[in-house]
Each structure stands twice: as C-alpha cells, then as structure tokens.
Symmetry: C2
Subunit: 198 residues, 2 copies
Amino acid sequence: MSRSESRYHHGDLASALEAAADSLLAERGAASLSLREVARRAGVSHNAPYHHFADRHALLQRLGVRHMTRLVEAQRAAGERETDARAAFVAMGAAYVGYAHEHPHGFAVIFDPEVCVPGETGPQMTTLIAENEALIGAAIARVAPELGEQEIEAAVVGAWGAAHGLAQLVAAGHVPIDAVRPAFEAYLAMGATLTRTP
Amino acid sequence: MSRSESRYHHGDLASALEAAADSLLAERGAASLSLREVARRAGVSHNAPYHHFADRHALLQRLGVRHMTRLVEAQRAAGERETDARAAFVAMGAAYVGYAHEHPHGFAVIFDPEVCVPGETGPQMTTLIAENEALIGAAIARVAPELGEQEIEAAVVGAWGAAHGLAQLVAAGHVPIDAVRPAFEAYLAMGATLTRTP
DNA sequence: GGTACGATCTTGCGCATGTCAAGATCCGAG
DNA sequence: CTCGGATCTTGACATGCGCAAGATCGTACC
C-alpha cells in the first residue's frame, strides 16, 4: 500500500497542511484561519498539525515565508524581463504591488507583526528580506550608478516603502490597482519638484 | 446615588469600553484583543459590550475610527506648524510615520482589511479618509501650484502610499525610525533621477 | 523473519472566546 | 406610582487552541 493511500501515516502532511492553509488564505484572511479547519481540509484529525508545526503561529510564519519567496521571485522575474534600467525598476515596483493585489491575504501575512516579527521569524525570512533589499538595491544602482553605498541603502528603504505602501493600500481596497502607475509617476515627478533647489 | 457610583448602570459604558480596548491596543495587537478581556478591564460582565457594539468587529471598527481621527489630526497639526510649503509636506509625512511608530497596533487596526473595509466601515471612516486625502492634496498643491486636479489626485495617492509604506515598515520593525527621513529624501532624489529625461 | 522503538496520527480533555437567550435591575415618561 | 425599555447579569452552546494519553505504522536492529 503506497503512502499516499494509507490514510494513517500521511507521508507528507507538512506540505499538505501548508497547501491547505495557503488555499484557505486565498479566500479568507489569516485571522480567521483556524488550525482545525486546515486539518479538516487536509483530511486529518484536529491535532495532527502539532506534529509538524509547534502551533498556529508557526504555520502562519511558514506561510509568510512561502509568500515572501514568491514575492521576491515575482520581482526578480519582472526586473529580468526588462532590459532598460528604469523600466526594470518600475516593473519591479509594479510586480510588488501586483502580488499584493492578487494575493492580499498572503501578502498581509508576510508583514503581519502578529506573525512575522523581524528578529523572531527564523533565518529563512531574514534571508528573504535581505534578498529583497539586495534586489531593489541592484535595480537602483543600475538606474543611478553615481550613488554611493550609503545613498543606495537609503534609497532602497525609500523605494521599498513606496512600493509597500501602494501595495498595502491596493490590497486593502483604498486605492484601485489602475491608480498605481499614475500615482507612482506623479510621486516621482513630485520628487523632482521637491528636490529642485528653489 | 450618582451614575458613576452605581455599578449596575454604568452610565457611559460605550466610552469606557472604547477606552479599555484602546489601552489594551497599546500593549497587544488587535488579533489578541478579546471582548471578554475588554469587559473585564471595564469592570462589567462579559456580555455587557453587546448592548453597545454589535460584535467584536464593531468595536474594532470604532477603534479604527478613533485612531484615524488622531492620525489625521497629527498630520494637520504637523502641517500647520510649518510655514514653508515643502517643510509642511515633509512634516506631514513624518507625522504619519511617527504615529504608526508610536501606536503600531492602533495604526494597524485602521488599515486592517479584516476590520476596516473601505466601503463597509461607515460614513465616519469614509469622511476621515477623504479628509486625509484632502489634507495631503492641499499640501501638494502648496508645493506644486502648477499641477492640475488630476495630477494632484495622482500625486496624493503616490505620497500617501510612500508615507504609508514607510509607516508600515517602521511599525512592523523592518525599518528603524531613524532611517525614515534619509529614505524619504533619497527616494525623492531618486524621483528626480527617474523623471529626468535622458 | 521477528521485535522493540520512535514517529505519526487519533481521541479526549480543559480552558478561553464569541455570541445567543433569558432573567434581573434601574431610569424615566406618563 | 407604575410600567416600558434600556442596561446589565448569569447561563448556555459552539468553536478554537493546545496538552495528554493511547493507537497505529515504518523501520532499524537482532
């Protein structure tokens, strides 16, 4: 009897649980995601998950890592699809916002302070965050090669913040997705205005 | 016997509950805020809140309105404290981020899609959101008087997004508060670079 | 091949919470 | 003074989290 048919020892319950939870996350938010429902959807008893995740928190963190991985990958792909430096930078921002728009609950769980606290989420998330910043930093360095390391670091936080804010507002429904690109351009022009010495 | 001494009819339980919940929100996040604990802290039975709030959701929405009011007010005050248009714009952004830094859980509840959905949160929140956008719009119009209505509208979303993203990242602990101002300036300079015709 | 061990999964439990229902208490209008 | 309605209380039920103890399975070891 193969493992997948034997319903006692599932075989790869951890992945199945993650998948089940992720599909739940496509419908509802993390707050209304119960471990028991995940277990039900995976077809196991309400306590089976505890042999793979310390608690509800741990499963949500795992989902956070999952989505952060995809978010970083989406940015990377969008950036590599463009040859022009500026186009790549803009495309990465759009990818960031786009991911949040398509997976609002998944995106939310990445940055939910109740779930993923910077220092306490484990090395995987730390690595992913660093990767994300490196990705943005490289894109900025391509656009503005004259910048020093310090300046790039600051610009990374600024760009990340801008993309993140629009993503959050779009995901929450405060801003329609179509308004993002004009807003982005307008804000950049605004920057040009603000930094122009009077 | 005055109402405040009579412990049966509280007198102003709605406000007391809001205050209790708000003080809880200063410590923990909204997810771990239970109606029963709020009731305990207010010194009433676990079911008293239901005579003032339809459910847990309604109380959280009320807290969202409360904090959005303060957030808008903080921005307004910061803007009015400056005479220079650019300084006012920057100060408002700093106030936005500062509020999120000082009241991370309160700030989170404003924009929590599980709590405050744009269309369904009631007229008060709608008004506050509009007020917020008007405030930002006025600040932008002061900085760049040459902009048309459409352009300002787009710039509002862009500026709001930038401030919101930095606020979120600071509140979540991904970015230290000291990094905000340099990031803001760097991002604006970045905008100047990006919009400069090659 | 048989067996003991550990990993995996199950059932059952205590406790906390959200929400409904019914009763107790108090205020104020008439 | 009485009665209605608002306010608050106790009680109950369903659900969820996480612990504990038992059942089942794979496998390393003899």
